[in-house]
């Protein structure tokens, strides 16, 4: 079937079989491989993208469902070759280690910030609960979201005994 979709502001038209997920559509048919597969079962959030303003697991959405929709992925987060404030905060707060969950994490954080410009720590935890990260233990990610929303946490570099 034919899919027309706007991704990160650009229009795409692709012919895909009905069973193809949005995740495979992005990675294999559009060539945007920044969105990752972590489990393929909607559990880990690595494939989070923003579909018409809402964060979704791309592995649980069929490409057929996005015909006519507007999508945002990690590839659209930096603008004109410059990281967004959210990305800069992730960098400053060391909110990335292996980086595999990062695209989904940034997209979830982006969706959260857009519906709640000043989320509390509890609200950030709530908003990112669906995104697994096995490396960071989440704390520096939460700090990055606070910082990106103008609520910088105190610099918490490990104290020296």
């Amino acid at each position: 079937m034919k899919i027309n979709v706007t991704i990160n502001g650009a229009a795409y038209e692709r012919e895909v079989p009905e069973h193809v997920t949005l995740l495979r559509f992005l990675r294999e048919y559009v060539g945007l491989a920044g969105t990752k597969e972590g489990c393929g079962g909607g559990e880990c959030g690595a494939c989070t993208v923003i579909l018409d303003g809402r964060a979704v697991n791309a592995c649980l959405v069929l490409a057929a469902e996005v015909d006519g929709a507007t999508l945002r992925t990690i590839e659209g987060e930096a603008v004109n070759g410059e990281h967004s404030e959210l990305q800069k905060a992730f960098s400053r707060r060391h909110a990335v280690q292996c980086g595999y969950c990062t695209p989904g994490m940034v997209m979830s954080a982006r969706a959260l910030i857009e519906r709640n410009p000043k989320p509390s720590v509890e609200e950030i935890k709530e908003g990112l609960e669906g995104n697994f990260c096995r490396c960071t233990g989440y704390v520096q990610i939460i700090e990055a979201v606070l910082e990106a929303t103008g609520q910088p946490a105190a610099n918490q570099e490990g104290s020296h005994a």
Partner: protein, 808 residues
């Protein structure tokens, strides 16, 4: 490398610049193996065993072969190569018998993933199902069926390991210190108990991915998500008897490893598929379910500890028996057994010690390396046991630990003498105890108890670990100067998220005296380009590769000075440099830019001297020895990183549900190269340790089927599982042979989280937990069992009111 460096005037080391590898990871531009496609690439799928133990009677691939688009099919009968890191016991595809649920029986390469899946479904395998061996105890019982009847015929590393043919014992590590019988005879108290934990999955967010191409002339290209490019290459060549120069391993960004991607895994199978398919590249990306059962896990452990204590609270004797449930293949489990064996008593001094650590084959998913390399598992038992002993003898658990901690002059289990430079475990323990307000509850905490009806408890636990690695583990680093005076650092150590790339850039910039933006460390690894490094494991990268970075920078500078000396007609000993140029110290205007030296210097008349500036640094572990197989005596530890956790937990005394109010962790890192990176390791490792403590673990049914190979049934911590408060404390007692005094801390934060939590729950409720993970129902059961501590006391002082129990 400490003494040659001035620690007071450091410009790069000790700061927290942003990560070196972060730009691409934040934009989606970072390429992982799962993102790679090769021209003409086929897709692989694996047929896996639905049984834990079964004889393979027949494999029929005829229907799969007829499916259009299928390019290669392999079964165990087609391949005659065995793999193994230390004991060579694993066929690439199961032959004759399957030994665990999920084991690979056949594999297909096809034009598309969909066709490969269809083809796998069309392969028919007929099994004769056999009763599986599912516990170490059953495997060790007299007359137990043998998981590996041919164990006596397998090759293995004889200097280090001791398989026991005719049994299910893949390795036995012994350690003997002092006179255990005499020690127990002198003891006033003897306390004995057993502790258990199941297998656990690493859960890197990126599953294992391999692309392999077997080209003409037996030249092989491997693109893989592995931790250790050179080990993949070397073990691959060993299995196929190929020259090392024939095989080229490339590793792009790696989406987490945690030990699960150490060693070699799917590379040989996928390479064989490529060979069968006429040399077309073949890709396999493990599904999450395959990550749980086709790929290995962490071994389960049963740890029995018997401790003899003098009247004053000093430990006089300790007998330690470990039974590692290695699953179907030895892989890393034999070395986990070895490393745990020589570390088994933790950072405590035990004058008379006796360790027997067994690696036991069973019909379960096999165990491999996992962050902490056995220490997460055995410290669960050890630090719960220290708590129990303290309770039994009527001493405060913190004081009991402090009394028995290693100190300068102490002798470890293997005979190593601890010095003041080994690290400061006492300071780690005291720091976390202070941070959580160990001891009495504060007025605020008491008020909270009264308000909620919940019980608050505070527990501590210590930890230590040394790198588990060959005694002659080596690495090399190459620093190349570009024509503009910037430098490229080639290291063979893989960036799997730990941040070493950034730390090495800081170390290089520090030693060169250059600004950080003039130094780039390669992120992707390539065995044809990068210098050798043994493996990205064991928390040894910072010390070994860090030192090699320093040496490579010194070499580069020496060559630059030599060339500058000729260019400036000056003695190199009179030269100095900054980030731009080399100059004569007593005449700074007389200088030459690095950019003029980088590719060789040209005099004004055009004549050239020197050549491109390349610095080489080599470093090898020094002074280590293999351990005596009978006594365990020797020097296995490059360094010891010490640490401790303190936990404040709140427990519902009716249901056993609990909540962690605070975790404080302290580590003696020697010198913090990048404090924010360390904080990332500390919190990340601690939360991974919380996963082990709270909920993670393999669940099998009685036939040996793995029941929870998914995130639905095998949870890992999320943001909602974080403790309310987390504190990371850095202790810096310099490591004399560490780069700027640093030592590794990659694995350590995961160790001893569970027992610190278990001890806090015990202090809150009296629940005697001996099994992890600690689920609410486990706390509930333990709270309601009311086993008095005397249950585990085998000897008590004469006249003690506890003698009744000792008499039984």
């Amino acid at each position: 490398m400490l003494e040659t460096e001035n620690r007071e005037s450091l410009r790069q080391v000790g700061r927290s610049p942003e990560r070196h590898d972060i730009e691409d990871k934040l934009t989606g531009a970072a390429v992982y193996a799962s993102d790679m496609d090769m021209p003409g690439m086929l897709h692989a799928q694996v047929k896996r065993s639905p049984h834990a133990r079964a004889r393979i009677l027949r494999v029929d691939v005829s229907r799969a072969e007829r499916l259009p688009g299928v390019r290669a099919i392999l079964t165990g009968a087609d391949l005659d190569y065995r793999l193994g890191l230390y004991v060579v016991d694993k066929d690439i595809l199961a032959k004759n018998e399957v030994r665990h649920f999920g084991e690979a029986v056949a594999a297909v390469a096809a034009d598309t993933l969909v066709i490969a899946r269809q083809a796998v479904d069309l392969i028919e395998v007929e099994y004769e199902v056999l009763p599986p061996i599912l516990t170490a105890r059953d495997a060790l019982a007299p007359g137990a069926p043998l998981v590996h009847p041919d164990l006596g015929k397998y090759s293995y590393i004889e200097a280090v390991f001791s398989p026991q043919p005719g049994t299910n014992i893949a390795n036995l590590t012994r350690c003997r210190k002092g006179d255990i019988d005499k020690g127990f005879a002198e003891a006033t108290w003897i306390v004995e108990r057993e502790y258990t934990n199941p297998s656990v999955q690493h859960v890197p967010m990126e599953t294992h991915v391999v692309i392999a191409q077997w080209k003409t002339g037996d030249r092989v290209e491997l693109w893989t998500s592995a931790q250790s490019p050179f080990t993949v290459r070397d073990l691959f060549c060993h299995a196929f008897n190929l020259p090392l120069s024939n095989v080229h391993v490339s590793i792009p960004n790696v989406g987490g490893g945690f030990g699960g991607k150490a060693g070699i895994h799917l590379e040989p199978l996928i390479a064989c598929l490529s060979r069968k398919a006429g040399g077309r590249p073949v890709k396999l990306q493990a599904t999450r379910e395959e990550e749980f059962s086709l790929l290995p896990c962490r071994s389960g452990l049963t740890y029995r500890i018997k401790t003899g204590v003098l009247a004053d609270g000093r430990i006089i004797a300790q007998k330690m028996e470990m039974f590692w449930d290695a699953g179907a293949y030895a892989d890393y489990a034999v070395n986990v057994t070895r490393a745990s064996g020589y570390s088994a008593s933790g950072p405590y001094e035990i004058p008379n010690a006796w360790v027997d650590a067994y690696t036991v084959y069973t019909n379960k998913v096999y165990g491999t390396a996992y962050r902490g390399f056995g220490h997460v598992e055995f410290f669960w038992g050890l630090e719960r046991h220290m708590e129990l002993v303290a309770q039994t003898i009527g001493m405060d658990p913190l004081e009991f630990r402090r009394l028995n901690l290693l100190r300068p002059g102490s002798i470890t289990l293997t005979g190593e003498k601890i010095t003041e430079h080994t690290g400061d475990v006492r300071k780690c323990l005291d720091s976390v105890a202070a941070s959580i307000g160990y001891g009495e509850l504060t007025a605020e905490e008491k008020a909270r108890e009264a308000r909620t009806g919940f019980k608050i408890g505070k527990g501590v636990a210590t930890l230590h670990k040394a790198p588990a690695m060959p005694s002659n583990t080596a690495t090399a680093v190459v620093v190349k100067m570009n024509g503009d005076g910037t430098v490229l650092v080639n290291v063979g150590l893989t960036e799997i998220g730990q941040g070493s790339t950034t730390a090495f850039a800081q170390i290089a910039a520090e030693r060169l005296g250059f600004p950080l933006n003039k130094v780039r460390v390669t992120v992707e690894k390539d065995t044809d380009r990068d210098p050798y490094d043994w493996q990205t494991v064991a928390s040894k990268g910072l010390i070994l590769t860090g030192n090699a970075v320093i040496l490579a920078c010194q070499d580069l500078l020496a060559k630059a000075y030599e060339l500058a000396g000729q260019a400036l007609r000056a003695n190199p000993c009179d030269l100095d440099h900054d980030g731009e140029k080399v100059f004569v110290r007593h005449n700074p205007d007389h200088s030459v830019k690095f950019s003029q030296l980088a590719l060789g210097y040209a005099f004004p008349d055009g004549s050239g001297i020197g050549g491109p500036l390349i610095g080489v640094g080599r470093y090898i572990a020094q002074g280590l020895t293999n351990l005596n197989k009978e006594t365990g005596q020797g020097l296995p530890a490059l360094d010891w990183t010490y640490g401790a956790h303190g936990v404040v937990a709140e427990v519902n005394p009716t249901t056993g549900q609990y909540h962690i109010l605070k975790i404080a962790s302290a580590y003696d890192v020697g010198k913090a190269i990048n404090p924010e990176l360390i904080r990332g390791q500390c919190i990340g490792g601690m939360v991974q340790g919380l996963g082990t403590a709270l909920c993670e673990g393999y669940i099998y049914d009685q036939q040996g089927h793995l029941l929870n190979p998914s995130f639905t049934d095998n949870k890992i911590p999320t943001t909602k599982d974080l403790p309310d408060e987390i504190e990371c404390i850095i202790v810096e007692r310099a490591q004399l042979d560490g780069p700027y005094g640093a030592r590794g801390v990659g694995e350590h934060p995961m160790i001893s989280v569970a027992p610190a939590l278990g001890n806090a729950i015990r202090q809150a409720t009296g629940a005697e937990l001996t099994h992890m993970p600690i689920r609410a129902e486990d706390v509930w059961r333990a709270m309601n069992r009311h086993d008095p501590v005397e249950t585990w006391a085998a000897k008590t002082p004469a006249g003690s009111d506890r003698t009744i129990h000792a008499a039984k």
